[in-house]
Amino acid sequence: MSASPLLEIEDLAVAFDTEDGTLRAVDGVSLTVREGEAAAVVGESGSGKSVTALAVMGLLAAPPARVERGRIRYRGTELLDLDPKRRRALGGRELSMIYQDSMASLNPSMTVGRQIAQVVRNHRGGSRTAALSRAAELLELVGIPDPRARLGSYPHQLSGGQRQRVLIGLALACEPRLLIADEPTTALDVTVQAQIIELVARLRAELGMAVMWITHDLGVVAGLVDSVAVMYAGRIVERAPVRALFAQPRHPYTAGLLRSLPGLDGPRRRLVPIPGGLPDLTRPIEHCAFAPRCEHAVPECLHSVPELLPVREAHEAACLRTDEVAAGAGRTPPAPAAAEGDGQ
């Protein structure tokens, strides 16, 4: 925890100009990842996780994306002020990303060997053959059998798991300091997911890089990261070391998420859903975005947007009612069926 900050995001806000108006996908996100740390960003679909990651990588397509405010510092350098060429050059060498959809994220008309070798040569120069051997090494590193032969394969000739491995290899080509893993296992089967998770964990230990793991599955990050940030509707609503978060969530959304998950052990109980659905991000939300779904909500919740404030050491939550949440964390209120409907 004492390591120096590698990536600092401060008050980042990203909006999209859409047909239905301005969509505030990310609205005031602050986040720090330290050297060698494994951090997680968790949140439901559409909560702004990918947008945050892409903003860090400088890969948001503008238009429609617009970084409205905020700072992104990488090892002290302000990325948003950097000239595009130099910023681009950081990608792959300092910061790398692996993506969710491995099929779409690899160029279908180029052999995987060339795709990796091209990145290697781009950052490190050297001959084509040298780059190709490096590519083979990388494939071996990510556990692809017979890597030399695989260099000549096209993405469609590989299985989903193998493609995901290639994508990881590509991201690691130049041994970046920070790896952003944006739901790299979502599309995969559990058994393959387990393989990939193990692979990333092992590589992080070997290479000593920091990992920012993005997922909507709380289960995935439990054993994998040091700290977790929970996002909801473009904001971070809770941030804590992983154990603290699971032990005693302080934000009603986090708590609700944990309660709505079935477990593989313990008594079977009725799940407690979070009623309602995500808010429409094209409308300005001047209050706690979760309030309409919150069982603890009080009228004040609708007056202003709660700030992310420390509730305990290293544990922050953006909620006025953290104590009530903490108290009710283990509670299983019998939710009436009518209250669950998101259509009422």
């Binding site: 100009d17 047909e19 239905d20 679909s45 429409d280 094209t282 409308r283 309409p292 409907g341 009422q344």
Partner: protein
């Protein structure tokens, strides 16, 4: 555990009172998107105006389209003849408007015919797949391989020019695009779960093909139809240019352009070529823009802005 559906949800009633509309309230979404495509919206208005002018214009203007007046021949545009007169002293404006009727009705009729054939063939091929599809698609391939204008010319020389033959000839070689697109739509849509769902509740083939799949295939159909109109207009004008189109005194825009070759090049009567050319150009341009707007409207994925 999977990638989630698009976030279009809305919060439940409490505690906020007002119920927000869902993000994509898009009953008229396609229409709205179409109107947002500026050139397309303008083009639609232009097309409407042209059609209106062509339909009622000739009745309003004081000259008949075949009213010869040797005294007033070859006049440049003037208040009396806004588009000038031709070498028989006929008012060019009236001739253009009357010609427009022919041009546009040939185009619309041809596209209508080709749509019927195309949708039918495409739907049958795509819906049933297998050998039926195979055979129909080979037929499409055959028609694709025959350069259309060649066959059209051949047919017109065989049968002689005229409304029917020209429409038939143009239609006969323009249905394949529709057929392919409709087939593609059907092929992909019939694999969709909603088709299985419809079967699951006991719906028959016809119902599935018409009620469930056809509306989804409509977008591309309308777009190709639009572009087909443009092609048909140009094909007809090319036929006229080759002297195989309608015969004087009937004239389409292409025919008027054909007549204008000599006056423009040799005699400098620019208005003879300019106005029919401009009408042809504007209408085809507008049709293309409308097609563009429609494809934007129907394929929100590829929206521009």
């Amino acid at each position: 555990m999977s990638d989630a559906a698009p976030p279009t949800g809305r919060p439940a009633a409490p505690p906020t009172a007002a119920e927000p509309e869902p993000a994509a309230r898009a009953g008229g979404g396609a229409w709205r998107r179409f109107l947002r495509h500026r050139p397309a919206a303008v083009s639609l208005a232009v097309l409407g105006a042209v059609i209106l002018a062509v339909v009622i214009g000739p009745a309003v203007i004081g000259y008949g389209p075949e009213e010869v007046s040797m005294a007033g021949k070859d006049q440049p545009p003037s208040p009396a003849h806004p588009m000038g007169t031709d070498d028989l002293g006929r008012d060019l404006l009236v001739r253009i408007l009357v010609g427009g009727r022919l041009t546009l009705s040939v185009a619309f009729a041809a596209v209508g015919c080709s749509l019927v054939v195309g949708v039918l063939v495409g739907a049958v091929a795509g819906y049933f797949g297998g050998p039926v599809d195979n055979v129909l698609m080979r037929v499409v391939d055959v028609f694709y391989s025959l350069p259309a204008l060649f066959v059209v010319i051949l047919l017109v020389t065989l049968v002689g020019p005229g409304f029917g033959p020209i429409i038939a000839a143009v239609a006969m070689f323009s249905w394949m695009n529709t057929a392919r697109l409709v087939r593609a739509s059907y092929l992909s849509l019939k694999e969709k779960e909603f088709v299985e769902a419809a079967r699951g509740i006991g719906a028959g083939h016809l119902r599935i093909a018409v009620r469930h799949i056809l509306p989804g295939a409509l977008g591309p159909i309308i777009v190709t139809a639009t572009l087909g109109v443009a092609t048909a207009i140009l094909t007809e004008s090319a036929l006229s240019f080759l002297g195989l189109g309608f015969q004087p005194p009937e004239a389409t825009w292409g025919g008027l352009l054909y007549e204008a070759q000599r006056p423009v090049i040799a005699l400098g009567h620019w208005w003879r070529g300019f106005f029919p050319g401009a009408m042809l150009f504007i209408v085809v341009l507008a049709v293309n823009y409308v097609g563009d707007g429609l494809s934007d409207a129907f394929e929100p994925r590829r929206r521009k802005k």
